[in-house]
Symmetry: C5
Subunit: 89 residues, 5 copies
């Protein structure tokens, strides 16, 4: 999993039926110190994440597990809201 920050939303009226009702959040990957790294991706929210929050997200074919539906064409999903990051000194 990676840590990211929700920086926006994507709206798509015409879309795969399985995505109807899905909240599509623009997620900026962060390193462990909170710096941006790589380009944002679009992840489906499953934990009530909002813009500005720091989240934990999964990528790839495990993403559909987060929405508890089979065979949904999504490849990224938010699976947690990050409360704390503890780095070894």
């Amino acid at each position: 999993m990676l840590v990211g920050k929700i920086i926006g939303t994507v709206t798509a009226t015409r879309k795969d039926e399985a995505l109807v009702g899905a909240k599509l959040l623009i997620t900026q990957p962060l390193d462990m110190k909170g710096n941006e790294q790589d380009n944002p991706i679009i992840a489906v929210d499953t934990v009530g994440a909002g813009v500005g929050e720091i989240v934990l997200y999964v990528s790839g074919s495990v993403a559909p597990y987060a929405v508890r539906k089979h065979e949904v064409p999504i490849d990224a999903a938010i699976v947690g809201i990050v409360d704390r990051i503890d780095l070894m000194k």
Copy 2:
């Protein structure tokens, strides 16, 4: 998922049977400001996307879910037409 722009089509007469009838669209990945990033990929259309449109697409082994067929050898599929991108100020 990523956002991309449809910039062309690929024609392949000799191909896997499961791909017969599939529309193969050249998709240029974009960042959230509309700039091109990385190289284009070929995605199967499932939402009636056309050249010039901004789309949402999935990569990897969830792509077959978008075509509602099992065991189709595709690794990218267009799952939505992007209407709006709202970035946090």
Copy 3:
């Protein structure tokens, strides 16, 4: 999917049983203008592709679908011969 050019073959006598008879083609990824990009990969042929041909190939866990066998340990497969690439003007 990506577009690539077949630039050679790999021979492996000692190999996974499921690969016996598989044609292992060295595939050079190309961009949409025909320039080489990234390093070649080895893909299993399923459409009768030959050295010098421009092909469409899939990567990842959907590759076994192309050989119509379950649980074959391959992660790339050629699924079409490219006839034409039309890029938007």
Copy 4:
């Protein structure tokens, strides 16, 4: 698989139900000489790994196999504690 060093932990109170009780470890990928490479990822522990330990971890959709639960949305898991790395001279 890759070798990494556990450099911290992530706490997420609000999260996917399937992740309740999972230990989320910040894992810094290492090369075979122990140098850091790429950015840290978050992996679920399944072998009792602790901060400071050198581990073996998997990425992608095989990660749920490590937690012996089906359909858990995790894409990285620690599967071993590294005792020794022997490099060819």
Copy 5:
């Protein structure tokens, strides 16, 4: 698949049960001319490969197919010993 050279071994006493008995080989990816590219990965051997040999390996969730066991948390496996690489002139 990629071509790599076995450059060492990893020993992990405490590990996922499904990995007991697995030979963990450090595999250096090579380009088609035999030059090293990218960082080594750890792959499970299934063909009797030894240090110094040039192999063909798969990555991702098809790797468990090579060990003929279901739900084994491995993401790379050696599936062949390379005898010859023929590059187009």
